[in-house]
């Protein structure tokens, strides 16, 4: 693994407080690989051999059952994924694929578990990270169970707006059909839902979104930090 990747990884919350010696020992066994788009990195049900870190690009976490498929989350740089499976030494619950050309660091799971046992600061950082992940999924589940698809879309747009700086105009970070899957609806219904938000001043052309009447949309969407604020 090229040393130039170290600083980016070292700065991650999960690694930044750990002893340098332990960090180095993690990096020794790690390697970095460039993947093209649409490559399946891991498959649900398989043993968790590596902790993955997205250095650049985008990764989709998805699950399948009975010939159906759904997107669970999208991972963007710089962050890890499938931490829980690595820690528990349990099979992956989700599959992962690259959505675009991506650079991924792979750290052998057994190294992570070994350092986890040796470095208390690392163990603590992992607790914080897992608690964060847990709370994010709970929020996603509240979104799913308490809101209609139109409400989910409206709140997604508001979240994405905030994430991209807060201006009235911004870009969708996802292909529409993948966004549909994330929001738990079909692509057809996403199209219709976008139309359904026009009366609230939402204009979408291609991947570009303009919110013409912020208040109007927020009155409809009723965003709530206990569902929509993924930083706490």
């Amino acid at each position: 693994m090229p040393d130039s990747d170290y600083p980016d990884i070292r700065e991650l919350d999960i690694f930044k407080d750990m002893q340098n010696e332990h960090f180095q020992s993690l990096m020794r066994g790690a390697y970095v690989q460039n993947f093209p788009a649409q490559i399946e990195l891991i498959t649900e049900g398989e043993p968790s051999d590596f902790l993955h870190i997205v250095l650049s690009g985008t990764v989709d976490l998805f699950s399948t059952w009975n010939n159906r498929e759904t997107s669970m989350a999208t991972v963007r740089p710089i962050s890890t994924f499938i931490l829980a499976a690595t820690i528990k030494d349990a099979p992956y619950l989700m599959s992962a694929r690259t959505l675009e050309k991506s650079r991924i660091a792979l750290i052998p799971s057994q190294d992570v578990r070994a350092v986890f046992d040796a470095d208390n600061d690392f163990a603590r950082a992992i607790v914080t990270e897992l608690a964060q992940c847990y709370r994010s999924v709970i929020k996603a589940q509240k979104d799913l169970k308490l809101r209609s698809s139109l409400e989910r879309l409206a709140n997604y747009l508001l979240r994405q707006q905030k994430r991209s700086g807060g201006a009235p105009s911004f870009d969708l970070a996802l292909e529409k059909r993948r966004l549909a899957s994330v929001l738990g609806m079909t692509p057809e219904n996403l199209s219709r839902a976008i139309k359904g938000l026009q009366p609230y001043g939402v204009m979408v052309t291609g991947t570009h979104v303009t919110i013409e009447d912020q208040d109007d949309l927020e009155r409809f969407a009723k965003p709530n930090p206990l569902i929509d604020d993924h930083t706490t």
Copy 2:
């Protein structure tokens, strides 16, 4: 807090490996309280003052938004809840209410965080616990997004059957209307869904369930350990 409650709590995965001194210091600040049914123990959005442990009875974790409410999970003895909020010192994401007369231990969150910083075994146990919780929610989300309500009910029955020993006959652990909420449907639709499973040999009278043709139901339900096995 009566010493007689100590052993039960001490045996929890999360406490069983920690130093006795630290366990004692947690217990010093803790207290146990008996609550009647239908008492709201915590309210979402409030700061997480206490880690809760259900010693007996049943607790429902639920969430609300825009005058809607949904059950997120049911907590049974002996286990903790709202661990993530305690660790992160963040507001509760869910509310909790007793479903029946319940005995609850309350440990001040700041004590938990203090001992978490001092006791590495405790910190490690919490990681395992959180990873477990995280994976459970992911499974619940897959259940929600990949299955119809009839399929969710069928798989819930199979899970409940296994939990209660595996016999063809067993009891629902929940009021039907609460089960409906857990499964993400209305009570009316749960009634109809139960009827809808009759062709697969499911008989329900009151809270008592009999699965007359196990294979037939499983062929329909297609249970999958990556969704339905909450022990891994």
